[in-house]
Each structure stands twice: as C-alpha cells, then as structure tokens.
C-alpha cells in the first residue's frame, strides 16, 4: 500500500502507510501538494501509483475500490480529474499517454480512454470497457500501443497483441512459481521476477527466454555495503554492533522454503540500450526489510562482480518501497554527469536518495551519506504536522500474509485447504481401490 513513483517530468508521488498521498517536485520542493487522505490497499499491495510516460497523468487508488485520476495543470498543480469506480479489487494497472488498462481480481482487463470527453467526475467501469477476460488472477501487466503482457498466478506470461486482441497470442513459459513483476526494457526485451526467486530476461515478440538467474547467487556473491546515519570513524566495534542489529532476517517459518528467496520487489532503470547501463534493484523476501540488491543487466548475463547488497541500519526503519527516477530525467543527467538515482522510502517516513553508479563501483563496506538537500526538504515536509494533521488513521496491514497465499500449492502450511482436499482425495482413492479389490476377490471366490 505505501508506494513511491517518479514521473518523467520530475514529480515524486508518495503514498504513506497511513493512507496519505502527496506529490513533490524534485527540483523545487516548495511545490508540494497533498493529494488524498485514504488509499485502500488491494490484496497484493502493489501497483497502486503510476504516472503516464509523459508525466501528465497520475493514477492513485483511492478508498473503497476507486481509482483517482490526477492531471497536471500548468506544471505546478495537480487536479483530481476523474474518479473511476470498479466492482472488484484491482490487482494491476498500466497506462500509456492515451489509455489506461486495469485488471481486476477475476482477471478481466478493462481499457479506459484517458482523453476524457465529458465533464462528469465519476466513471463507473462496466463490461463495455472489458477487452480480455483471463481465467486466473493477474499479478502484473504491461500495456503499450502494440501489445499487452500479462503475468499471472499460474506461472504463465501471456503476450497479446493489442489492437487485434484475439489473434497473435504467445506464451513465455519457464517460471516455476507465480510471476509477480514485469518490467519492459525496450521494445524487444523484458524482465520478469517471480516467486521462485528467479529473474528472467525474455525477448519479444517471439517470447524466447534469454537469461535467467536465481537470487541465491546474489545472496552469496554480493558485496555488502552498510548504510548508516551515524558515523564514527574511530569506533569500529560500534559499527559492528550496529550492523548486527540491523540485519534481522525475516525468515518465513522454515528457512529452506521457497518463499524466502522469492523476489519481493523489483525495479529497473534503463536509459540506454547498452546492457551495462540497465540497472536492476530488487529485494528478496527474507531480507526485504533492510536490504536491497543492486546489479546491472550485463552482470546478469556474465557475472562480472557488479552486484552489491545495500543494508540499511535500523535507525532508518524498514524499507517500504523504492524506485528509480524515470527515463527522461536520467537522460538529462546522463548527458551531463551520468548519474542514476534510487529513491527509497522507509516506514519512518523518510526518503533516501542513492547514487547507483558510485555504489556499483564502490569497495568500501560502510557508507555515510550526507543527506541530499532536496530529499531532506521532502523529509521535513513528510515529518511535519501539517502533512499528517488531516488524517489520524494509523492502521497498518501486514504485507506478507496475502503474499504467502500465492504460494498455496507449494507452501506446507497446516491450514492450507488445498493440500487438505488433496490428501482427502488420495485417502478416498486408496479406500476405493481396497473396496474394488475386495469385490474382485468376492467374485472370484463365489
């Protein structure tokens, strides 16, 4: 539910744990705006804030099955343009500059035109907007002018060509658990992350698997870099204690179970089609609260030791969400200083900005970063009473209860009703076989 998204025009939208959403301009922090006070989470707590590629439209899920559409007016001000009312919870959404695609819990995909002709405030989503009905729950989706890519719970990634939906369907098969993230690299490749702990690169449109790598490799090989807000150059033991405190590993019951190495969140930054400039940040389930792994696409293909693990000490709190700044901003920076930044949101409502390129070439083990001025201003606003006074909602939902449900076929939990039914069925079959063989014996005796 808490999320962060950055637009190509330099706006940063944050949705906090208590439901408040706000938007900040990254260069001029006096331009901030409070957007809404209630954002209800869906089952997966993801994909709830998105900007359109040109940065003019922002979508945030609101309370009670509503989607709020904000339009940027005059470069300074965001206005609530439309409220879209849906019947079932939304599990994924994606938008281009012209239309928005929403997937609901049943797997139905709806397409809505973003160039609203009428002036009405509300739009009720009904069947005439539905373009595809899928039969299983869809966890992530990429939609684009020429195709729609769907990642579902049944390990399949389905590619549908967009304007002519029924035809030209192909499948990217290969994951061994549900596919949770899809990120497009360019028009010919995309990256997928799944509950089985692998990141896979696929080519479009022939859906061939190109590379895959398991997160365990990163756990074993990454150089750890420890971030702390306090820095004592003399007192080494102090740092060591801090480091131990900061790394509680959140194993899920059984440490060898699949869920622990599954990819909890992934993001990708690509501003150049050169593989060494495509940066990937991801976190693994059992280290999701304090660690982020950084690597490049080139490193995925040929391990050249460009992987780093960032650990944040507990003074920051736990990691909520992170994202790269978007393409266009990187372009500007690339021409001048080649920089790529990762913005991380913590549950203490602080934001941190990390320079990815310098991390990947860094060999130190502890880092202290002077907080960036712009980011510090945003943090001040986030901490201020002004921001929080409007909403006193303090409920927090545990993110991972519903995540575990997605593993239902493989996780051995005692209250897993599917495995119970399976065991019942197996018992029944054995009993029936016994009866059959007894009847045969009776017949042969008589």
């Amino acid at each position: 539910m808490p999320e962060i998204a950055i637009s190509s025009t330099g706006w940063l939208a944050i949705c906090l744990r208590n439901g408040i959403a706000g938007i900040f301009h990254m260069k001029d922090t006096s331009l901030w705006q409070y957007l809404q006070s209630e954002s209800k989470s869906n089952d997966l707590n993801r994909n709830l804030i998105k900007f359109s590629p040109n940065g003019q439209v922002l979508i945030i899920t609101g309370e009670n099955k509503q989607l709020n559409v904000y339009i940027a007016k005059d470069e300074f001000f965001w206005q609530l343009q439309k409220i879209i009312i849906v019947e079932k919870f939304i599990t994924a959404l994606d938008l281009t500059n012209e239309f928005l695609c929403i997937v609901n819990k049943n797997g139905d995909i709806y397409k809505i035109d973003l160039l609203f002709n009428d002036n009405s405030k509300h739009l009720i989503l009904n069947d005439e907007y539905c373009i595809i009905k899928h039969s299983s729950m869809i966890l992530d989706m990429i939609s684009n002018e020429s195709f729609i890519l769907i990642a579902d719970q049944n390990k399949k990634i389905c590619l549908n060509s967009y304007p002519d939906i029924s035809q030209n369907q192909s499948y990217c098969l290969g994951h061994t658990e549900f596919v949770s993230h899809l990120k497009l690299i360019d028009n010919y490749r995309f990256l997928s992350a799944s509950g089985d702990g692998t990141l896979r690169l696929w080519s479009l449109p022939d859906c061939k698997p190109l590379v895959f790598i398991h997160s365990k490799i990163f756990v074993l090989l990454s150089k750890e870099i420890f971030y702390t807000q306090l820095f004592h150059s003399e007192n080494q033991t102090f740092i060591e204690n801090y480091r131990l405190d900061a790394k509680p590993d959140e194993f899920c019951s059984d440490p060898s179970s699949i869920i622990n190495y599954s990819i909890w969140k992934m993001d990708i930054a690509s501003f150049n089609s050169n593989d060494s400039n495509i940066y990937i940040a991801f976190s693994i389930y059992f280290q999701r609260l304090h660690s982020i792994y950084l690597t490049t696409l080139l490193n995925m293909k040929e391990l050249i030791n460009e992987q780093r693990k960032l650990i944040f000490d507990s003074s920051y709190g736990t990691i909520i969400d992170y994202c790269f700044s978007s393409k266009a901003i990187l372009h500007d920076d690339y021409r001048t200083n080649s920089k790529c930044y990762l913005y991380i949101l913590f549950d203490s409502n602080t934001l941190l900005k990390i320079d990815v390129i310098s991390i990947l070439s860094c060999d130190k083990t502890e880092l202290f970063i002077k907080p960036d001025e712009d980011v510090q201003e945003i943090n001040n606003i986030l901490a201020s009473k002004e921001f929080h006074s409007i909403n006193n909602n303090n409920t927090t939902v545990s993110d991972d209860i519903l995540y575990k449900e997605l593993f239902k076929n493989h996780l051995e939990s005692s209250d897993n009703c599917c495995s119970k039914r399976k065991n019942d069925r197996i018992d029944q079959e054995q009993r029936k076989k016994q009866i059959c063989s007894q009847m045969e014996e009776n017949i042969s005796i008589a």
Binding site: N154, K156, N168, Q169, Y171, L173, C418, S419
Partner: protein, 261 residues
C-alpha cells in the same frame, strides 16, 4: 484385469473450472515426461530433462512423437477408446477435471491394454484444468484435432464465463492448433450450439465447415464424435437432437494480407 464398472466411479457432473484444484502441471511442454502415459510409444529420456540444453531437446523431439488429438472434457473416455484403433500412429490425450471419472478412464485404458496387447497404447488421460493450464502442455501448432463433446452448458448468465468456448480461450486453442487443424464440437443444447457457433464465427482464425461438406463425409471421426461418448449414447436413448459443428483453423488473414501487399 477386467473392465472397470461405472458404479464405483460416480461423481457429480459439474465441477467449478475456475477454482484451484491443486493440480500439478508442467512449467513448459518440454518439461513434461509423457512416457508414463504412453509406455511403449515414448521412451523416457535417460538424462534428466534439462531445458537449458537445446541439443538434447531436439534429439528427444525427433525420436518421440507428439500428441496430436486432444479431447477436452473426455468424460468416461468413450471417444478415445473408439478412435484409438482408427489412428494407431497418432497420440491422443484426454483431459478431465473430475477425479473419479479420470480414474475410471485410466483403469479402462489399463484393462484394454492388458486384454488387447499392443493396442490402445496411443491413448491416455490426465487430470488438469484445460481452461487455465492448456498452453503449458503443448507447443504452438502441435495439435491437429481438438474435440469438445457435449460440454457443460452452464445455462445461467453468471456462469457463462465457465463455458469452455469463449473468446479468450479460442485464442489459446488457435495458438495450439496447427493451420488446417480441426475443432469438433457437438452438443444437444441448442442455445449452447448457437453460442459456440457465434464465438467461432466472430473469431477470425476459424472458419466453419458445413455438415454436408465432403471433407466431413469422409472423415472417420464424425460418427464417433456424435455417438461414441456416454453423453452421446444418453442423448440417443432420450431421443434428443444433436448439433454438430466443425471448424477449421485457418491462416492468419492479417499476415497473409500484409504479405500480399
């Protein structure tokens, strides 16, 4: 082993296709080992299947034949058993969601293989949800015939999404069927027949073959499609109507148009 008796395998006719039945399905079609289903026809690979190594895969494909006929919702297996001697070199698979019915079919096949050694080795059945997992079993264009016989009509409007023929699934079937492959549908419910025909007609990759067409007159499957299954026999006993519709998978008109111009 004697043929199984249906009275030990009774099950409710309807099963919810959209619920999770904890079914095991392969990750990809080449990860599936069919040798347990077709023991004399398919040799199991000695090395463990490794789909990263494409050389061993190609070798396996050349040696082992692929499944070409699929009966979706095969029920008590009447069609498979009737077609097996007609096409002894083609592999056929039945898919069924209901457990006990599936057990009946497997026991029946086993009994037939024992009673007629060397025959009935090309049919088998497995438990799966064809609506959700079908593309994981086969590769693109692998199938040459698909059978949808007497599918569950799901009369109520709210249950229409459970029907086995709808726009989204037709795209999957078109992906799995090779060009000029045939889809056979048969039902005794007029409403369902009209629904299925309209779905296929609207879908650009299928064209209807008329029931009087000579292609169908010479097709040995037709009489079995209509009469060999348990449902078919029941409809005959009750003197109901049977509506047959056969469709051919055609070349993508989008592609042929652009290649012409």
């Amino acid at each position: 082993m004697s043929l199984p008796q249906k009275k030990f395998y009774r099950q409710r006719a309807h099963s919810n296709p959209l619920s999770d039945h904890s079914i095991d399905y392969p990750v990809r079609h080449d990860a599936m080992d069919w040798s347990s289903h077709y023991p004399l026809v398919i040799k199991s690979s000695e090395q463990s299947p490794d789909h990263e190594s494409s050389v061993s895969n190609k070798r396996r494909k050349v040696e082992n034949p692929l499944i070409e006929f699929v009966d979706i919702g095969c029920g008590y297996g009447g069609l498979l058993v009737a077609l097996a001697p007609l096409f002894p070199d083609k592999l056929m698979l039945g898919m069924e969601l209901r457990v006990k019915v599936l057990d009946y079919v497997l026991d029946r096949i086993r009994a037939l293989r024992e009673q007629y050694p060397g025959q009935y080795t090309n049919i088998s059945c497995l438990r799966t949800n064809a609506m959700k997992y079908l593309p994981t079993y086969f590769q693109k264009g692998q199938l040459s015939k698909m059978f949808f016989l007497y599918p569950d009509p799901h009369f109520k409007k709210a249950k229409h999404k459970w029907r086995i023929i709808n726009k989204q699934l037709l795209a999957e079937y078109a992906y799995l069927l090779r060009v000029d492959g045939l889809v056979y549908t048969c039902t005794d419910v007029l409403d369902l027949h009209q629904w299925m025909c309209s779905c296929f007609d609207e879908f650009p990759l299928f064209e209807r073959i008329d029931n009087d067409d000579p292609v169908l007159k010479n097709d040995p499957c037709i009489e079995h499609v209509v009469g060999s299954t348990e449902e078919g026999k029941k409809v005959e006993r009750n003197k109901g109507d049977k509506y047959l519709a056969v469709f051919r998978r055609i070349e993508d008109p989008y592609i042929t148009k652009s290649s012409d111009s």
